[in-house]
Structures are given as structure tokens and as C-alpha cells.
Symmetry: C2
DNA sequence: TCGATTGTCTAGCGGTGCTAGGATTCGAAT
DNA sequence: ATTCGAATCCTAGCACCGCTAGACAATCGA
């Protein structure tokens, strides 16, 4: 059985390689540059190999998104746990979120802009996505305010962050006042 | 000269037809279905004709976006002017914005999700875009609060609306509680 | 050693945005 | 009325896309 196990390991390793390469290529040249041909060339296999791991390009995007969600959850939790007090935690969380989006635009797109074929806000939502939301919820429920459902508050806060992240990156908001916008957002939304 | 004038009129009319057809097709079947071939077929001309009006598909998206911006500005102003008091105006504005995004998803995408080659938040930003932002600013500056720059406040409020609009439509936020989210957002952001 | 299974590749399908270059139409000047 | 020149439009094609059928080679179990 050891031979089969080795093959399985190698297969899993190759799958990781595909996802990592897709992510790398997307961050370097944008998702438009991530074509099945280029991706196949980079991993030094032919195109059909991609389809033996994923149903199509969409699923590859989805795989990148899941990895990114785990990473973002960790980043948000790390930032929050390093801050003292609910208010400081929320500010740190907001900065960490926007920082992640800024540093990993392609991954962020895979998670929240592109179609990766993933289910959101449902029972069959993949665990990393649920957990990323949970990471936001943990710090945000502290400042939701009395009588306000923490989940609902988190959704609104998240939506605001998402709007800031996407509009800023696409040049639709001037890049300069990012920090002031974060402060205003936290000031108003968070109930001390 | 009348012949030339007629030709110019016909050309302008055909350009409107292209933009209207692109918008229609995008709303019916999504922007992916708006290919130069299909678009050319619908307007009953060959593909190269499109390129005598626009540099490429991107510019067509941009043209749709400009028309949409004018429409959205009007919708927002109409809703705001029908409400009494600053607080009610902002609620009406938020509902009108989200309603527009919901009813015209393809146009909304052309404006805020896709690349239409338009300049945002700069001097050379097209007038309809500036005016759409101005329409938000008019009602929102009433509730920005003392010492808060109205433009900055509008940016934050707009970003929140944009996040709600896009995350809801892509299924990343549960569709049910949309109204409650709007109320929470207005409650917290607007200074009565 | 042989047959079957697994793995991988070449080649190709129908589609995309975009364009070169030829054909046609049509106004204007003789 | 005829001819010339310019403007207009279309056919055909380029390089690329996501995806897949089917041929081929390598590997495994008997």
C-alpha cells in the first residue's frame, strides 16, 4: 500500500503547487494573466493535468480563496489579540483587514470579488470562510451595542471594510485619506 | 452641409444604440455574454463598426457606466427630496442607492466593479460621476457631524453602501436582513 | 511476461477581443 | 452625366481563451 500512499502524497503536493502557482501568478500579473496554459507551463505539466485536480479555472480560484481566508482569519486574530480594550481591538482589526486586502489584492479578489464557486453564508459554507467571519465576529461583538445582534453588526462592519478596500484599490476613492476613513468608521460604528 | 449633419446625427444615434444594446444584453445575460460578436449582431452591423465608435469593449462598459451614473444621481436626488428631515433623507438615500444596485446589477457593475477606463476621484473625472458623488454628498453632509469633513463622511458612507450592495448580490451576505442592515448603518453613521 | 489500469500528452473544438485590407457606396467636381 | 476620391462597411483572419477527446506510455498485479 505504500506505493499508493506515495502517489497520493505526490498528487496532493502537486495540487498545492497548482494553487500556490495560481496565487503567485495572480498577485504578479493579475487574474487575467492566470490562464490554464500559463499555469500549466509554470507547474511544468500539460493543461489537462489541471483538470484532473480541479473542475476548471473557477475551482482553482476557489482554492486560492480558501487559503486566503485562513490567512486573513489568522491576521485579524493576531492583530486583535495584540490590542488592549474593545475599541483598540476593533481599530486593529479594521487596519489588519484593509492591510491584508492591500497586500494580497489577488487573493482578496478570489475571496470576495471573483466567482470561486464557493457557498457563502450557508450551512455548506467551507470552514475557512466561516472561520474568517468568526474572527471578525469575535472582536466586533464586543462593540455591537446593546440589543444589536452581533452577527448583523459584523455584517455591516464587514461590508463597510469591504467597500473601503475595493473602492480604494480600484482608484474610486482617493488613496490619501485611508487612515482617516478607518478612524471615522470605527468612531461611528463601534459602541464603546 | 446638411448631408454631413445628417450623417453625424445617424452616427450619434448608432452610438446610442450600441450603448443601449450593450446595457440591455448585460442586464439580460450578464456582462460575460456581452461579446463583440453578439453585440454586433444585435445592432445589425459587423464587429469593426463597434471599433469605429469605441476603442474597445472597455470603452463600451465605460459608456454604460456614465449613463448609469446620471440615472443613479437622479434616483438618489428624487428619493432624498421626497423625504422630510435630514435623518429621513439619508435613509431614503441609502434605500434608493441599494435599490438601484439591485434593479440594475449590470449597470452597477459597469460603474463600480468593472474596468470602464474611467477616471475616478480626480480632476478629469467625467461629469456624471462627479455629479453622482455630489448627489450623495448633498444629503449626507447634513448628517456628517461637527468637525467631520463632509466629503470624507460621504466616502465612508458610500463605501458601506457599496459593500452591502456587492456582498449581498454575490450571495456573500444573507439576503434576508437587508433592511435591518440599512437601519443599523444609518443609525450609527448619521449624526442626527 | 503479459494484460490492464493509470497517468500524461498532443491536438483540436468553439469561443474571445481586435484588426488588416479589400469592396462598395456615395457626395462632389468636372 | 460622368468620373474621381473619400468615407464607410464587411470578410477574413490573428493570437489567445477554457476545456476535452483520444492516442500513447508507464506502471502495477497476476
Amino acid at each position: 500500500m505504500s506505493v499508493q500512499e506515495r502517489k497520493q502524497r505526490e498528487r496532493a503536493e502537486r495540487e498545492r503547487l497548482i494553487v500556490a502557482t495560481a496565487r503567485e501568478l495572480a498577485e504578479q500579473q493579475g487574474w487575467d494573466a492566470v490562464t490554464t496554459r500559463r499555469l500549466a507551463e509554470r507547474i511544468e505539466y500539460s493543461q489537462p493535468v489541471l483538470y484532473s485536480h480541479f473542475r476548471g479555472k473557477r475551482e482553482i480560484i476557489g482554492a486560492v480563496a480558501l487559503g486566503g481566508a485562513a490567512e486573513m482569519a489568522a491576521a485579524v486574530r493576531a492583530a486583535a489579540s495584540a490590542a488592549d480594550g474593545p475599541r483598540a481591538r476593533v481599530t486593529a482589526l479594521a487596519r489588519a483587514y484593509l492591510d491584508f486586502a492591500d497586500r494580497n489584492p489577488a487573493v482578496y479578489d478570489a475571496m470576495f470579488q471573483l466567482d470561486g464557486g464557493l457557498a457563502f453564508a450557508q450551512e455548506d459554507t467551507p470552514e475557512p470562510l466561516k472561520d474568517a467571519f468568526a474572527a471578525l465576529l469575535e472582536s466586533l461583538s464586543e462593540v455591537a451595542g446593546d440589543g444589536v445582534h452581533p452577527g448583523l453588526f459584523t455584517e455591516v462592519f464587514w461590508a463597510a471594510l469591504h467597500g473601503l478596500a475595493t473602492l480604494t484599490r480600484s482608484g474610486r476613492l482617493p488613496p490619501g485619506d485611508a487612515e482617516r476613513r478607518v478612524e471615522l468608521l470605527v468612531d461611528r460604528l463601534a459602541v464603546v
